[in-house]
Amino acid sequence: MKTEPIVTVLQNKLGSHIQASREKITNYDNGINRITLWISIDRESFHSAIAILKTMGRLHISTPMPYKEYEDRIELIYPFALKENDTKFSEIMVIILVDIPKDDLKIRTITDIVPGALFMERETMEMVGVEIEDIPDPRRLFTGNYLPDGVYPLRNQKK
């Protein structure tokens, strides 16, 4: 699977909402490549972008959501594995990066597109303190109810 068509389709449909994209290709023998594509999208359009990705093949959520913390914002990282067809070694990683300001830590749920992302979103809510809007099940996933409100175990001040 190639990365250019993905970026082109997203740019055509969402225009300037796609802020940046970069890719990393590692070559192996026999013409096999390992491809990772990072795409930065703003908060308004990331949901539509994931809906578009879903039409391109089998969209699988690969890890729980990592994040990067900056002084005034948090960058959420949605790691997807995308596979167009059953060709061998054709799966690529598409990483969607979304910036949200620290004074408004809210983002829309993606469980309406990828229902398997529910555990990931519940974990992000309790560990990082990002409010996931319209999430079908807002309960905590790992921590107990004894944890006071406003305490987010995986938040740190490092970049």
């Binding site: 192996y28 990072w38 990592p66 994040y67 070694f89 990828v114 229902p115 398997g116 555990f119 970049k159």
Partner: protein, 412 residues
Amino acid sequence: MKSDITYPLNIGPVHPAFKEPIKFTFRIEGEKVVGADIDFGYTHRAIERIAQERNFIQIIYLLERVCGICSFSHPMAYCLAIEDVAGIDVPPRARYIRTIVGELERLHSHLLWTGVAAHEIGFDTLFMYTWNIREKVLDCLEELTGNRINYAMLTIGGVRRDITAENAQTIHKMLEYYEELYSRTSEILLDDLTLRARTEGVGILTAEQAERLCAVGPTARGSGLMKDVRVDYPVNAYYEMPWLKPISPRDIGKEPIGDVYDRMAVRVLEIQQAIKIIQFCMENLPEGDINSGSGSVKMINTLKKLEGEGIGRYEAPRGEVCHYVILDNQEHPVQIKVKAPTYSNGFAWAPMLTNIEIADIPIVIASIDPCVACADRMTYVQTDGSSTTISWEELHAKSIQKYKGARKRCMK
């Protein structure tokens, strides 16, 4: 007479069917389960947080402790992620040795699962048989790595121990042992009428549900999805095997419906596949170095000057393990995100556990090969507030009773 009353039924957080604590709450209508809810977190050890305080080499051994059975898969995914960030080339011999140890792990994990599954339905002779033959692969791993589990075999850029001529002989002997036993074992597991009666049509997860819920590993393949990281994504030496393909129940001529039997069939066939992969690797084991040549100190010094993100994916016996690491000029990763297969498959329990009988709960829960632990008590809470606690032995006895009934029907 049909009753309209449903009862909540709690199993867990500590329960013998699981290897780690987890709590289930079922809605039951008589003997039928009509809904299931899962509660995680009873064994959260904050490994991701601890990893932020360890250096790059220490983390390998920390991550071995994520799971006892997948003690190769987690450090493997982590090493792949770090090698991805740093652009480290792994020598071919190391890639082959990684593949061999990974497949030995798959072999012992699948044999362990078949034993657990047999025990859950009351077929304890099979449980003892599979755990007995599993000893051979554990002995082989012990000779190869020094340990039955937690092998400490991996390092960033390669492996820590070579396979000597003597080790190679042990592996060949072990492969011969399993090849001899395979037809008998697969016959018991796939053709035994009682086993079929207990597993066919139970705990169904359709292909569409498996894809929507992002199921992985034998759980997804049992539903007919062709999903296998070893074939979808270039990892270790797997991409050098053109014949490798994801296993599905179609390989034994059965159209997958996603029941417990299909998941079992996938695991049984993967035992054979693992033997074939190890044979291929032993025949084609290249000569050369087994790691990139950097010692631990040099490696840490290189990595602490790096900035970037890396992904490591690996197909563990239970499904995809994926690690995401973020480096930022520090002696440890700023963040490491770990995904174990049960994190993906746990969500798929809900459809599987709906519309089954209480006696089938143990086998359906065990059918995804969960990485969550054990309990010995369950409670029926009645809607008027009174509650009855029955022991795990009674639940297990219910399962055995059903097994005996099925055996009688099969013998007629």
